[in-house]
Symmetry: C2
Subunit: 385 residues, 2 copies
């Protein structure tokens, strides 16, 4: 088990190692430094010593400015041909404003190293998985106030990170899952769970999952199987074995020229009751065609392209519902942790890399040759005793 | 009060007047005849003597074959330039198959004139408003089995019509609303209610209603006001007074080149929590832009064009939900009748016309110069005693 030591440094160092995003653009905007001032927890906050931090599309999307409505292409290393500059520009994102330098990283697993005023000091030393959406507790749905670790707030690509104490969920030291595996949960696992909570996934659903070999996709397959649904997984044939291993019932080649026909062949002609999509793009109309009357479509990403053609007749003549998932509902993260403890979710880590090698890691991530998640490991804290 | 006599003919005539749709195509496919065999109620069915039958877009869409995915344009009298033939072709519709000749007409108000085996003969003489979706009672959601009056089943453009007894909802003879006004309820009122049921409309919603002067639109405005929502109505300025009269709080010109700016000006910069849309078309992206975080979009039609561009990022980054409404949920029609009895809905009739003048009536309907509904009145039954 690759856990960090069960103790945290008695004295938190004044500076830390971490990765600064210095502006929007290519990989060169990611700068590894060892002289970043260590943040201090304010009232109601904790300081977490990061043990492992997952790599996600969202970090890359934020870096390349993909959340700007001006960008029409899919996710690539350099943001396509949009010529995004390196000035401090507004992201056009859904909330708040991205300022530079920013420490990215939405997935944090670690140990509480210090607490701010109002937080029980007994929490120091606690093993924690961090919920990445930071919301005003007085905001009922959280939608208006939500900010995201690594976007509106500094995140986990560093030795230390500050966040509200309520976002740091306790994990038992006895839970026999290594920290890098847990570090795949907050963003990918949370997104998958939130998608399925929103779409009301249930036993008996026949569900189509796109991008099934990716971070969110492998959790979608596992959660759907855990609740008793039947899963048609769309993935690259080179990853069929891995997707089958996490539970998929049927496998469909993502490069098929006719997704509708391929899925119907796999299901024996049955249309699906649920589509859980993180791909979007040109196959979107086929996904809707595959839905039966009253079917639900839920999305949390569109790596194959965000602009799609929608025939409103398909939406209403089949009484469909669509759901867009970002900010987690209140029940999502606790449900995710419960499924984890029940053994219904087994996080899949493709590999780990030192935090300093973030550029190489993101390049491999975008090459889509991995199954499951890539996880970055910050260097040990020198001042640890 | 333009009610039919409180009695029904003791003997139902062997033949009746009605309008045959002889094939898909233009207005010439609607043929008024007086020699149509009167249908006979089967087990569990009733025969209704039609007092009034509303005109709807759906009748025209079915006639011109607009429900076929090959059609990309909006609703016009002759089906645009798609060159639809007059052969017995499949409609490509959401369920079943359209066969000719077909009697159209989804909105039926009348009186039960005869009952089939298994139906209490005491219902003969009962005043009734007919729910237009006919479903298998064993089909929980009704979505897989649903057929529609005037499409999969003969409808109300005739002196008599047969349908399942459970679809014939009783209306008190004492309810002081004339039959032509009630005849605007089943399709337009039911659709409006079902849209708002699906989208979870509630007190405090700030709702944008498109096509607010139309049949569905006027009911959307009324129902939203009845439940305590605030309404921004999009309509033609020539109809502002009428839309205001049914309760709209804010009015926006439907021809505005910038719907987003116009609505924000009307609301003092507030974005909406709900869009109830029957128009679709080029203004679809603006409608989504107007939704706040967590907003809901519900559609039941797309007279301005069904094919729209959707940016999936808008759907998921704002945590939106979309709902398509056709087949009514079980609670929809009873709720509609309750709102009617509470006085929360006051059906608006633009004018009535004899059934024989159906071509002129549909031409006027498509000219969009009316507010509220157009209603056709079949000739009196000659054999009445």
């Amino acid at each position: 088990m690759a856990a960090i030591p069960r103790t945290v440094p008695r004295t938190v160092p004044e500076t830390m190692a971490g990765v600064h995003l210095t502006g929007q653009g290519g990989l060169d905007k990611l700068v590894y430094r060892e002289d970043i001032p260590t943040p201090k927890p304010g009232p109601g906050e904790v300081l977490v010593q990061v043990a492992a931090a997952g790599v996600n599309n969202t970090d890359i999307n934020t870096r390349i400015g993909w959340y700007s409505p001006d960008v029409k292409s899919g996710t690539t290393a350099e943001g396509g041909s949009e010529g995004l500059g390196d000035s401090e520009k507004d992201t056009g994102s859904w909330t708040g404003r991205l300022v530079f330098p920013r420490i990215q990283g939405a997935d944090c697993v670690g140990r509480i190293a210090a607490v701010g005023p109002g937080v029980d000091p007994a929490r120091i030393g606690e093993r924690t998985v961090c919920e990445p959406y930071i919301v005003d507790p007085d905001d009922e749905t959280g939608l208006e106030s939500a900010g995201f670790l690594g976007s509106e707030y500094d995140g986990a690509f560093a030795q230390f990170m500050v966040l509200p104490a309520r976002n740091a969920h306790r994990v038992s030291d006895d839970l026999d899952i290594p920290d890098p595996a847990l570090a795949t949960l907050p963003c990918s696992g949370g997104t998958a769970m939130n998608m399925l909570v929103m779409a009301g996934a249930k036993a008996g659903d026949l569900a189509l999952v796109t991008g099934a070999s990716g971070g969110v996709g492998t959790f979608l397959v596992q959660i759907l199987k855990h609740i008793g649904a039947e899963v048609v997984a769309v993935a690259s044939p080179s990853k069929f074995d891995a997707v089958k291993a996490v539970g998929a019932d049927h496998l469909v080649d993502r490069t098929t020229p006719d997704l509708e026909a391929a899925v119907l062949e796999a299901t024996g002609g049955r249309r699906v009751s649920l589509v859980a999509d993180v791909v979007g793009g040109a196959q979107f109309p086929a996904m809707l065609a595959l839905l039966r009357q009253g079917g639900r479509y839920v999305t949390a990403g569109a790596i194959a392209g965000p602009e799609v053609t929608l025939d409103l007749r398909t939406l209403y003549l089949k009484s469909l519902s669509f759901f867009g998932s970002t900010v987690y509902r209140r029940e999502t993260f606790p449900k995710l942790m419960r499924f984890l403890e029940e053994g219904g979710i087994k996080p899949v880590v493709d590999s780990t890399a030192p935090l300093a090698e973030i550029r190489d890691a993101q390049t491999r991530f975008l090459a889509k040759t991995h199954v499951g998640s890539l996880v970055l490991i910050p260097p040990p804290v020198g001042a640890a005793d």
